[in-house]
C-alpha cells in the first residue's frame, strides 16, 4: 500500500488539493468582483419561464396617462425656459428600452430589482429606470444580460431633484422606508404639500423632468435645513415591466 513514488520529491503544485482551493478562490473572487455576473446570468436563464407576461402592458398604458399629463406640463415650461438660456441634456422616448423584472427585493436592507436586459441592450450604469408613473431608480451594475436597479427608497440613494412650481432644488435621499426624504438646500424653501417633485433639469447625469413623487409632509423646524417626505408615484412592489432610459455616452 505504500506509494514509493511519493518519496521522490514533494511538489506543492502537484497536489490536487492546492489546485482545488486555488480555483475555488479564483471563482469566488470572480463572483465577488463581477457583482455576481455569472450567477445572475444563470439565474436569468433558469427563471425565463417565470418572467412576467404581456398582460401587464395594458395596465402600464393606463398608468402612464397620469405621468404623461405631468410630463407634458413640465416639458412645455421647461422648453420655454431652455430656449431663453441654453440647451442641456435631451430626453426622448426613442432611447428607451423596456425590460422585465426578474428578481424583486424592495423591502430588505438592499432595495433592488434585477432586470432581464443588460449591456447587450445598451444599458449602462447610472441610467434612469422608469415604471408606470415615474422614476423608480438608477442602474447600479450591469452584466451581459441582466442589470441591477438601485431603488430610490434604498438607503443612501441620492438624486438631485427640484420642485417645478417654485424652482426649489433639493437632494432626494433614500432612507429605507417607502418614502424617501427630500433635503432642501436652503433655509426657507418655498414648498407646499402636494407639490410635484421631478428630476432636476440642470443635472448632467439624469434626463430632465422625470416625475418622481409628491410631497407628503414637510418638517420646517429641522436643522441645518428643512426636509420633506416624498411619496413616490411609481411603486416597485407591483411592477413587472420597467423602461430604462438609455444614455448614449458611457460613464
Amino acid at each position: 500500500m505504500v506509494n514509493t513514488r511519493r518519496k521522490v520529491a514533494f511538489r506543492w503544485w502537484s497536489r490536487k488539493s492546492f489546485w482545488y482551493w486555488f480555483f475555488l478562490s479564483i471563482f469566488l473572487l470572480f463572483i465577488r468582483f463581477s457583482k455576481g455576473a455569472f450567477l445572475l446570468d444563470i439565474f436569468a436563464v433558469f427563471s425565463r419561464p417565470f418572467w412576467p407576461g404581456t398582460a401587464q402592458k395594458e395596465w402600464i398604458v393606463n398608468g402612464t396617462n397620469l405621468e404623461q399629463q405631468i410630463r407634458i406640463d413640465l416639458l412645455e415650461k421647461d422648453n420655454q425656459r431652455l430656449r431663453q438660456i441654453l440647451k442641456l441634456q435631451n430626453s426622448s422616448k426613442k432611447n428607451q428600452v423596456s425590460a422585465a423584472v426578474i428578481s424583486r427585493r424592495s423591502k430588505d436592507f438592499w432595495q433592488q430589482l434585477e432586470l432581464n436586459k443588460g449591456a447587450k441592450d445598451g444599458i449602462n450604469a447610472g441610467d434612469a429606470v422608469l415604471g408606470p408613473g415615474g422614476l423608480l431608480g438608477l442602474i447600479e451594475t450591469v452584466t451581459l444580460t441582466t442589470s441591477r436597479v438601485r431603488l430610490l427608497t434604498a438607503p443612501a440613494t441620492k438624486l438631485g431633484v427640484w420642485i417645478e412650481r417654485s424652482k426649489v432644488h433639493g437632494v432626494l435621499t433614500g432612507i429605507g422606508t417607502n418614502r424617501p426624504q427630500l433635503n432642501f438646500l436652503e433655509k426657507m424653501p418655498d414648498a407646499k404639500l402636494g407639490d410635484i417633485v421631478s428630476t432636476s433639469p440642470v443635472s448632467t447625469l439624469m434626463p430632465p423632468n422625470l416625475p418622481v413623487g409628491v410631497i407628503q409632509s414637510i418638517d420646517e423646524q429641522n436643522l441645518p435645513s428643512p426636509y420633506a417626505v416624498v411619496q413616490l408615484i411609481a411603486s416597485p412592489e407591483a411592477i413587472d415591466w420597467v423602461r430604462v432610459q438609455r444614455s448614449n455616452e458611457k460613464r
Binding site: 469566488l28 426578474i102 427585493r105 423591502k107 436592507f109 438607503p155
Partner: protein
C-alpha cells in the same frame, strides 16, 4: 462513503442560497423581508463540521451574497462569526438535536447578522442609528427565518448528516 456523498450534495445545495435570495418568494416573507437563506444553510453545516469549516463556509457564502447585493454593507463578518459559533455549539450534541433549539439559534443568528448590517449602514450613510425601519427589517428577517428553521434545518440535518442507515 455515503456520508461523503451526502456532504458533497449538501455543498452543492449551497448554490440554492443565492438563487433563493434572488427569487425571494413573496408568500414566504414578513412585510416584504424574506428569510436569510445563508444562515439556514450554514447552521446544519457548522453544527456537523465544526467551527473552522463553519467559519470558512460563512466566508464563502458572504462573498457570494455581497456580490448579489447593493454595495455599502457586507455580510461576511456576521456569517464568519455565526459559522464559528455554531461550529463550537455543534460539539455539544445534546443542545443541537431539538428542532426548537435550531429555530432559536437561527433566530438569534439572523438577528445578529441583520444587526451587523444595520450598524454598517448607519455608520456609512450618516443616517440616525435609531431607525425604526432598520429595526423592522432586522426583526422581520429573523422572525421569518426562525419560523422556518425548525422545518428546514432539521430536515437537512436528518437527510444529509444523521440519516438512519
Amino acid at each position: 462513503m455515503k456520508r461523503d456523498k451526502n456532504r458533497i450534495l449538501y455543498k452543492c445545495l449551497a448554490l440554492l442560497v443565492p438563487l433563493m435570495t434572488l427569487v425571494s418568494p413573496t408568500w414566504l416573507s414578513i412585510s416584504g423581508v424574506g428569510p436569510r437563506w445563508a444562515e439556514l444553510w450554514l447552521l446544519p453545516w457548522a453544527l456537523e463540521e465544526g467551527p473552522f469549516a463553519g467559519l470558512f463556509a460563512g466566508f464563502c457564502l458572504g462573498i457570494i451574497l455581497d456580490g448579489l447585493n447593493l454595495d455599502g454593507s457586507s455580510q461576511i463578518p456576521a456569517l464568519i462569526f455565526l459559522g464559528y459559533w455554531w461550529g463550537c455549539l455543534g460539539r455539544k450534541r445534546k443542545y443541537s438535536d431539538k428542532s426548537f433549539v435550531l429555530g432559536t439559534l437561527i433566530l438569534f443568528g439572523s438577528f445578529l447578522s441583520g444587526f451587523s448590517i444595520w450598524l454598517q449602514q448607519s455608520f456609512q450613510f450618516q443616517g440616525s442609528f435609531f431607525n425604526v425601519w432598520a429595526l423592522h427589517t432586522v426583526l422581520a428577517g429573523s422572525i421569518v427565518s426562525g419560523l422556518i428553521a425548525p422545518l428546514l434545518c432539521s430536515l437537512s440535518l436528518n437527510t444529509f448528516f444523521r440519516g438512519k442507515p
